[in-house]
């Protein structure tokens, strides 16, 4: 009757081995609600910075290693929801523009405004917000189908905002004709499909470890 293991299922060990306290229901979570939002937003902004700064990772099966900046941006949107996701990306951009080198290749400061790739940065918060909004639909489907909805959410962010705005600004800055700009921009799309599949897999794992992250969306 008194051995420990029978109590174990109360808290579910997360894949990392850390034990998550069961999230306490509506009455219980009032207190740390806003501070948890601040912490999630700041931590995901840091996560995006690390994704942008880390050397690109090798993926079995494709020759070119992939960089993770847009992975971080869309994961923030999908995991946190539209407002907190956009806030995390906005915080990341604000800190980068203020002069901390947190953008890809350790750049930062106002110089990025002048670069042809600035359109991609402008598109990030919008993409995170849209991805977060669409990802909320994953609540309504069976867990087995969730990764597909999450992939769709990430793809919508890429296709509606990141590529169109990124390509438009690049074409304008480099004085390219629209066809050439689109062709140049389209070279990133296959990599994005792989990254967005990773977003879906990782976000699904997070929602399994912390089910309330899918329930409480802001």
């Amino acid at each position: 009757m008194s051995t420990a293991p029978q109590n174990e299922p109360r808290t579910s060990p997360t894949p990392s081995g850390a034990v998550a306290l069961p999230s306490v229901g509506a009455r219980g979570r009032a207190r740390s609600g806003t501070t948890t939002d601040v912490a999630l937003v700041a931590t995901f902004a840091a996560f995006i910075a690390v994704c942008a700064l880390l050397p690109s990772i090798p993926v079995a099966g494709i020759p070119v290693p992939i960089t993770l900046q847009t992975f971080g941006v869309l994961l923030a949107g999908v995991v946190l929801g539209p407002r907190r996701g956009a806030a995390a990306v906005g915080l990341y951009l604000a800190v980068g523009l203020a002069g901390m080198p947190v953008f890809a290749q350790a750049t930062g400061g106002l110089a990025v405004v002048a670069k042809p790739s600035f359109g991609y940065l402008i598109a990030f918060p919008l993409a995170a917000a849209l991805a977060g909004y669409v990802a909320s639909l994953a609540r309504r489907v069976r867990p087995a189908l969730r990764p597909f909805v999450l992939f769709g959410a990430a793809m919508s962010g890429s296709l509606v905002f990141i590529h169109p705005i990124g390509i438009a600004v690049m074409g304008w800055r480099l004085d390219l004709d629209p066809g050439a700009a689109i062709a140049l921009g389209a070279t990133f799309v296959p990599g994005d499909v792989i990254k967005n599949m990773l977003v879906a897999v990782v976000a699904a794992a997070i929602f399994r470890a912390f089910p309330d992250m899918l329930r409480v969306r802001r």
């Binding site: 008194s2 420990a4 109590n7 034990v19 069961p22 306490v24 229901g25 219980g28 089910p211």
Partner: protein, 232 residues
């Protein structure tokens, strides 16, 4: 003085599934200076600790600290009750020790000079003055836990709740932190797996399966705990 009045905490685990009971039927009146809480992983002892400063609110019943209800007077409760977590890394917010302690003092309205002086005093008291400007990330685990304690004690709370503060530390740092906790004037509620530390408490609570199964002086309670943990 901490009072639990028929407190229960239930939480939803997976959507649609029935709520899990994390703690039930807790009635306590804690006036002792040193209270230890022991129990297995997942027994509900961390939730018990979090109830004291309103990080978790009871589903049923209420928790009172010096007459204040944790559900109604959250801000006042957290000025009165400090809380230290197991992993100091997640608790330290600012890049350097000096700034982290300064952050704690933000809500006391002090001018810059007063604040700097208080910060220096607190760091000196915890033996961290030499590390004031070092990256928090570069501190050892033990130094980080001391800093977490410094950040919490800087505002001089009346009660200190510690959730397994020494679990991640080596023996030497464990002793440093234990001695520091023993030396405090505050009422201390210590959640721990370290039975030697529990044995020094004035009162020991044993939590198992979401209930208080033993409550009394260190000797009797720890015997009960050893019995329950015995593998059969």
């Amino acid at each position: 003085m901490i009072t639990f009045e028929s407190v229960a905490v239930r939480a939803e685990s997976t959507p649609g599934a029935p709520d899990v009971t994390i703690l039930a039927g807790v009635d306590l009146h804690l006036v002792e200076r040193r209270v230890a809480v022991v129990g297995a992983n997942g027994s509900g002892k961390s939730t018990l600790a979090r109830l004291v400063n309103g990080l978790v609110l009871p589903t049923d019943g209420r928790v009172l600290v010096d007459g204040l209800d944790t559900a109604r007077d959250g801000a006042a409760i957290r000025r009165r009750v400090g809380f230290v977590f197991t992993d100091p890394d997640a608790q330290l917010v600012m890049p350097t020790p000096r700034e982290d302690v300064a952050l704690s003092l933000r809500r006391l309205t002090l001018d810059a000079a007063e604040r700097a002086e208080r910060v220096h005093g607190v760091l000196a008291r915890f033996g961290l003055a030499a590390h004031a400007e070092v990256s928090v990330h570069a501190l050892s685990g033990g130094q980080k836990q001391l800093l977490a304690l410094a950040g919490v004690l800087a505002t001089e709370p009346a009660i200190l709740v510690c959730d397994e503060p020494t679990t991640l530390l080596d023996l030497r740092w464990r002793r440093v932190v234990d001695e520091l906790l023993d030396s405090l004037d505050q009422q201390v509620v210590l959640v721990t797996h370290d039975l030697d530390a529990a044995a020094r408490a004035d009162r020991v609570l044993v939590v198992d399966g979401g209930r208080i199964v033993a409550d009394g002086d260190a000797w009797g309670a720890i015997e009960t705990y050893r019995d329950r943990m015995a593998v059969r």
